[in-house]
């Protein structure tokens, strides 16, 4: 891919981010500006900012890559990301804003009057935030590597530096402008190339094999395998091999591989005939975003799909960077309307990744073998249109991808730094907030350099599963149930979130190779969410004496419309 346009595009996005942030800095004066933009952000600006923050690397590149590799089942991801906002709106949005707290730990303390629960919630926020920052940094590294061949960690480093600079300098007020700007940038960066790509597809005679399963090659295509991989075949496959397969060397030999798993050495050139089925590489040897837990999906697709649905539907409300945003609305009614606008904005955005996924299946099916499936969005313009036009569109997409990493990473850093400043560092105040920002970013950056090959989609899935089984019960029961007690909340978070965390960590460490136990651990939401709720309810019922004394007054504050509320406080 030609990087002479892409690198300036990425640089432009980075510079524009810093400039818009600096503009926010000029009007960011008070501490309240810093943390919550003085709670005066109107629904439209706020909705664009929330959407800009929410559409991460996983949305921008990951979905198209996942769909390319694993087919339409993966479209549940964007559906879940969107529906999660609907569930958030139904149960949480307005009361959360009216609670008057700033972070999830603030909410826990206000609702339960317990410092221990606050600490625990803070620990979960930092954990989930770091888990979610990791894929952003790795995605940035991947993008820059695909575009320029730069070393893997460089992209992550750039994102980390820019984010720390903008967040530490301007706080929430400047971030709001940055993110609103980046939503529109991301939408443009996917929409404009998509229009051209669809036109190119039309003029190509509008082939429709993309929707067939499995994907097939439309024309004869040669693929160079850059990393050694295992190829799993459900049917015998005829192809021309130039290199080493299953330990035997072939020199431009046409052969038929029988059903089963085949080991392809790196540097091998495979030539597929027209109409041949696109084989699937066996599990993530490459650490890209699209190699998530593929094995367990094939074994128990229904279980995995429902696990995914539950995790994304209920996990959204507990993501730290999502929650913080609600405190910037002026009042509860605005918080609700903002959420509806967000649903519209992200719903519109998510119409686009499937288009890239489908076109990727048509025009770049070999990406599933080279392990660069996440780069499908970046490579398609070049592949389908080519020339200067293709390069320019590719540059636009690359700029949008960087906007995606920057905006989500800023939001997460903001949230994690807020918790670190308030609960870990010795004194509060803007200077310590800046220190917290650096801390919030250094840990995931170090992890991304050290861990390197962690499958990115797994990290995202883990963040959603942990959030769904810890924060979702805390928020829903905290807002709607009068008998919640501090011990109940703590136990529920520990048992639900903790077990989800252990389950996915065990899967990532490769603990149980296959079987139903593997599926159970890889997609924990289906059992860990009910477990979290159940523990929270049962322990609360067992400790009725510990119901905080001010519960009734606090619930009144959560639910009463603002016009009645001034008197309640007085």
């Amino acid at each position: 891919m030609n990087s002479s346009y892409a690198v300036p595009a990425v640089a432009l996005v980075v510079v524009a981010t810093v400039l818009v942030g600096a503009f926010g800095l000029r009007i960011s004066r008070t501490t309240s500006d810093f943390y919550v933009a003085s709670r005066t952000v109107g629904p439209r600006l706020n909705a664009a900012a929330i959407s800009g923050e929410y559409l991460s690397a996983a949305s921008f590149l990951g979905i198209a890559g996942l769909v390319l590799v694993q087919g339409p089942d993966m479209l549940w991801y964007p559906v879940g990301y969107t529906a999660g906002y609907l569930v958030l709106l139904l149960f949480v949005a307005a009361p959360l804003r009216r609670s008057g707290a700033y972070t999830l730990p603030d909410f826990a303390e206000a609702r339960l009057a317990s410092h221990a629960v606050r600490r625990l919630a803070g620990a979960f926020v930092v954990g989930v935030g770091w888990l979610y920052l990791l894929p952003q940094l790795q995605g940035a590294g991947l993008t820059l590597t695909v575009l320029t061949g730069a070393p893997d960690s460089l992209g992550g480093l750039i994102v980390a530096v820019v984010v720390v600079a903008t967040v530490a300098a301007g706080g929430m007020r400047s971030i709001t402008f940055v993110q609103a700007f980046q939503y529109w940038l991301k939408l443009t960066a996917l929409l404009v190339p998509a229009l051209f790509l669809v036109l190119a597809w039309q003029s190509d005679g509008a082939p429709r094999q993309a929707f067939e399963e499995p994907a097939t090659f439309r024309e004869q295509r040669a693929v160079r395998v850059d990393d050694t991989l295992d190829l799993k075949l459900d049917h015998p496959l005829t192809l021309t091999v130039n290199g080493t397969v299953d330990g035997r060397r072939y020199d431009a030999v046409k052969l038929q591989l029988p059903t089963g798993t085949h080991h392809i050495e790196r540097g091998t050139r495979l030539t597929f005939a027209k109409g041949a089925t696109v084989p699937v590489a066996d599990r993530g040897t490459n650490g890209g975003m699209s190699t998530s837990l593929a094995a367990s999906r094939e074994e128990r697709p229904l279980y995995a799909t429902y696990g995914l649905i539950l995790a994304t539907f209920l996990g959204t409300m507990g993501l730290p960077h999502v929650v913080v945003r609600f405190y910037t609305s002026p009042h509860g009614v605005a918080a609700r309307r903002t959420t509806v606008a967000v649903l519209g904005l992200i719903g519109a955005f998510y119409l686009l990744p499937p288009v890239y996924g489908a076109l990727g299946r048509l025009y770049t099916p070999e990406l599933t073998l080279t392990g660069d499936a996440d780069a499908a969005v970046l490579l398609l313009p070049d592949r389908m249109i080519g020339g200067v036009g293709g390069d320019l569109l590719g540059a636009l997409v690359a700029g949008g991808a960087f906007a995606a990493f920057l905006s989500t990473a800023s939001g997460l850093t903001m949230a994690v730094a807020g918790v670190l400043t308030q609960d870990v560092l010795p004194s509060r105040g803007v200077r310590h907030f800046r220190l917290g920002t650096v801390l919030a970013m250094v840990v995931p950056l170090a992890a991304s350099v050290l861990v390197g090959g962690l499958p990115v989609a797994d990290a995202v899935g883990l963040a959603f599963a942990v959030s769904a089984s810890s924060f979702c019960p805390l928020l829903v029961l905290g807002i709607w149930w009068t008998r919640l007690t501090p011990p109940g909340a703590a136990a529920g978070m520990l048992v639900g979130g903790g077990s989800a965390f252990v389950a996915v960590a065990a899967t990532m460490a490769g603990f149980p190779g296959t079987g139903s136990l593997h599926a159970l651990l890889a997609w924990p939401a289906l059992w860990s969410v009910p477990l979290g709720f159940l523990t929270m309810v049962l322990v609360s019922l067992a400790t009725p004496g510990r119901v905080p004394t001010g519960t009734a007054a606090i619930l009144a504050r959560f639910h009463l419309p603002e016009e009645l509320r001034a008197e309640v406080k007085a």
């Binding site: 929707f211 609700r336 959420t339 009463l560």
Partner: protein, 119 residues
Amino acid sequence: MPQDPTERRVVVTGPPRRTRRASGYSRPRTEIDEQTTLGHTYVRSLMRTQLRAALTVFAVLVLLVGPLPLVFAATPDSHRLEWLVLGFCLYAPLVLLALWYVRRAERNERDFVRLVEDR
């Protein structure tokens, strides 16, 4: 004024005056403000109506989305349908559900304010 020995302080009784109502304050509002048991009952009733609204919309969401994986699994040849539904057809209903809920929730709140302010 000379003191008249026969002048005494007398208690005049009569029907109680509705001072609170006259000053524009109504009873439910005060009950809520003073956090009496009755006031809490008002708040609980608001919570119940809001929760009912949320659960209704949530039930529709579950009915809309829940059976889809089963449908796709039961008809393995329906890949085109799966692409169409998951890729492009679910977002508009989600936004409509959100709009419906917001209208209901805001109406509930308006009704509640009218009730407690006695307008």
